[in-house]
């Protein structure tokens, strides 16, 4: 991730010379969840590079991935300062084991065909914009500054996902069939985005971060609008996947993380 270690204070942190921020395990946990969502989805999207349907989509998906990894850097570096471990963003990305990642399972789903990737983007971007907009109005000034920027960037990704959902949904019989199937594939994994545990409830009560459950109705309204415009229906799955937030991942997650961490594990501390 970062290639400069000599930057005095990357991101708006405590001024040099001041003691590090007091440990805040709840906020660290929450930022790890958000940061892992962005990191893992960014890594998944990178698997499209050289394989996207057109060169423009290659650029689009890789640029989206770049933004997501930028978000992960900000979120994970703050998490490392708050969890008391002093780990850097790179330590967190490259040295944690599978069970220590807290991303929602949605973000690690294999890319599938292009429609599956767009269905996953649709669900994630609508959720992330709502979450980041709420952070922008939250009590933590550093997170609020991040929320303003990240919400704008993900709104651009959302536009991309909205357009493709409608284009595929209203395209040929084959593209319609694939988009419908993609939504059905992805939808059981959307519920986890809005799950609440004690960490989320305590943070929401303090006004620092939004209550995930409170975002669900707005999210559903917005994605329903897009899916309806695409001539399709929002699926109503009879089951819901869960576990990612507590480190229980899908079978496909291990290889993804192995790939992400392979260079760092072969050449610990290597620079170029």
């Amino acid at each position: 991730m970062s290639t400069t270690s000599d930057v005095a204070a990357v991101r708006p942190g405590p001024p040099p010379g001041e003691p590090p921020a007091a440990a805040d395990p709840d906020l660290a946990r929450h930022l790890t969840r958000l940061g892992d969502d962005a990191l893992v989805l960014g890594q998944r999207l990178c698997q499209w590079i050289t394989r996207a349907p057109t060169i423009d989509e290659d650029l689009a998906l890789s640029n989206i991935a770049l933004d997501l990894i930028g978000h992960a850097r900000t979120l994970l570096s703050r998490a490392g300062r708050l969890d008391g471990s002093g780990r850097s963003e790179d330590d967190l990305a490259y040295t944690r084991s599978e069970r220590e990642f807290a991303n929602a399972l949605l973000t690690e789903l294999p890319n599938g065909d292009f429609a599956v990737t767009m269905a996953r983007q649709l669900a994630y971007t609508h959720y992330a914009v709502l979450h980041y907009e709420a952070l922008a109005h939250g009590a933590d000034p550093e997170l609020a500054a991040f929320g303003v920027r990240a919400a704008k960037e993900v709104a651009f990704h959302r536009l991309h996902a909205d357009r493709w959902t409608v284009t595929l949904g209203r395209g040929t019989p084959e593209s319609t069939r694939r988009m419908r199937r993609a939504l059905e594939r992805v939808w059981p994994y959307t519920g986890e985005l809005f799950e609440e545990d004690d960490v989320a409830r305590r943070l929401a009560a303090s006004g620092t971060v939004p209550s995930p459950a409170a975002l669900r109705d707005t999210w559903l309204d917005r994605v329903t609008e897009v899916v309806t415009e695409a001539g399709l229906a929002v699926p109503a799955p009879t089951w819901s996947a869960t576990g990612g937030r507590s480190g229980l991942h899908t079978e496909e997650f291990g290889p993804l993380i192995a790939e992400l961490q392979s260079v760092r594990r072969q050449f610990p501390g290597g620079t170029w």
Partner: protein, 170 residues
């Protein structure tokens, strides 16, 4: 890197700022960091050490480490080897911070400068109002919302039939 010649005396903040502002952006070398509007401040910190505050364009901008390293070189060359480079997110950088001179430089090199969005409006994908840097026509169609770097999209001029990059308004 061939930066300015080292000096023994410590240059004042204003002189350091001029040198930092003159550094080219690694992804858009036709424009300097000053004209791009990413230099927030150059001033001594609470402990008297000179600090350069930069405003990242995009959070994941891959040029940021390179820019940071170049600014550090300037600090060393200006007699501030202990100087610091900080990245600030507030106030947020927007394309409105690009100076008129910067906009002219972009246009002269075939990159259509950003057209400011309505305040509070949605993030626009440029439509219509962006003049083609080749023929000046405003009859351009969006070609791809994402372009050769994160901050650019690609439009297609319906008059001269050339595609051209456009610095997306943010």
């Amino acid at each position: 890197m061939s930066g300015p010649a080292p000096v023994t005396a410590r240059l004042c903040a204003e002189e350091v700022r001029e040198r930092v502002a003159a550094l080219p952006d690694p992804e858009l070398p036709v424009i300097g960091l000053g004209d791009l509007g990413v230099v927030h401040s150059v001033a001594p910190g609470a402990d008297g050490v000179l600090e350069v505050e930069l405003m990242p364009t995009y959070l994941g901008c891959p040029a940021l480490p390179e820019i940071t390293a170049a600014v550090r070189e300037v600090l060393i060359a200006c007699g501030h080897p202990d100087g610091r480079v900080r990245h600030v997110l507030t106030p947020a950088w927007t394309t409105d911070r690009i100076t008129p001179e910067g906009r002219r430089a972009l246009a002269a090199h075939g990159i259509a400068p950003p057209v400011s969005p309505a305040p509070g409006g949605p993030v626009p994908v440029a439509l219509g109002a962006v003049p083609c840097p080749h023929c000046g026509s405003t009859a351009a169609r969006p070609h791809s919302a994402f372009g050769p770097s994160r901050c650019q999209s690609v439009l297609w001029c319906t008059v001269c039939r050339e595609p051209f990059p456009h610095l997306t308004a943010l």
